[in-house]
Symmetry: C2
Subunit: 204 residues, 2 copies
């Protein structure tokens, strides 16, 4: 009875959507802010989105292609002489509608995955030295993420507010992520301190 669903977006008339296509919608969202090329989109990911989503260039280009095929975006080729041509994409009306639909739709619950915690969980099966190495490296990673966020904030936050409202939510996301990272860093630091102390006692 149940129809086989098409490979992508919009196609499911049966309105029992099963796939999420989050990347598609993020890209539509970015293209709504301003028309961009695949390359621009990758840049934007690195600068503004990386802390909670990212994608390799290959995925970006294939997704652009599928969005184009689905009629959600249109393209304008900008000929350049001294560089490869740019293909600048922007939303179609259908794309705009589809984006709005997604924005209003509930956020689906999905399994959270954290490889660091997965490994840490089993550290009791080896020795504390191994755990300490992982914890220290994780601390470094957290610190770098926080640093990167602050850097981007300086560069980006000072700029335009020609869409005040848009910026507001972007700041909220940053606040959220920063709070999360800071909390994680604190726990990590405490754990490192505890372990270091214990290892010192053992040596003595």
């Amino acid at each position: 009875m149940r129809e086989k669903r098409g490979s992508s977006l919009l196609k499911d008339e049966g309105h029992e959507t099963s796939s999420r296509n989050t990347l598609c919608y993020i890209m539509l969202g970015l293209l709504q802010i301003r028309p961009m090329s695949g390359y621009d989109i990758k840049q934007t990911f690195e600068r503004a989105v990386a802390s909670y989503w990212n994608a390799g260039t290959s995925q970006i280009y294939t997704t652009l292609k599928s969005l184009y095929k689905a009629g959600l975006i249109e393209v304008e080729v900008i000929v350049q002489t001294s560089r490869p041509n740019r293909k600048v994409y922007q939303l179609t009306e259908t794309g705009q509608r589809e984006l709005t639909r997604w924005q209003e739709e509930d956020v689906p619950e999905r399994f959270t995955k954290d490889e660091f915690l997965a490994k840490l969980f089993f550290c009791g099966q080896t020795d504390d030295g191994v755990a300490l190495v992982h914890l220290r490296q994780h601390r470094k990673s957290l610190q770098e993420q926080l640093k990167h966020m602050k850097l981007m904030q300086q560069e980006y936050g000072s700029r335009q507010s020609r869409r005040q409202h848009l910026l507001e939510y972007q700041l909220l996301v940053r606040e959220y992520k920063e709070a999360e990272l800071t909390a994680s860093l604190e726990v990590t630091n405490r754990a490192i301190a505890r372990l270091e102390e214990r290892l010192q006692h053992e040596q003595a």
Copy 2:
């Protein structure tokens, strides 16, 4: 030049591992704690691992099969009369070695994904009402996760400490995750309060 790599685990002699197989290793880790069936593993995921990793039953069974084929686990069939037979798996020596290798290996950096933040980011493009709905639902989800963790802690934490050291890291993971969730909840609550206030002013 570069050799094509085999489909799974251990096979790459060329030691430039590219895939992560995190789920495989988590399952090996769980089986090291005690021998289990696929069903038991799923239970354990729900009870103890869900906050940072999870998998559907189908994935668990297929992964068990591939671990078995790779010689990392062995099976004992326990015949039951009034229920389907249980296949209880445990690590082989090779599996044990492979697990240890993974535990000592660096945690690879990977893109973090957060669908809620992805959606929130673009909420400036619609109206505040939509954002408020998402935020409230997210708050509910965070509260439930925290509640679930506390429940599991009562049930599980009171039990055996026949491996003190193992438990220690499991508690650390819980502490970490709880701190993260709590920080997120605070930011979410603040954001909701701000929005509610603004919407009330607009109405007046």
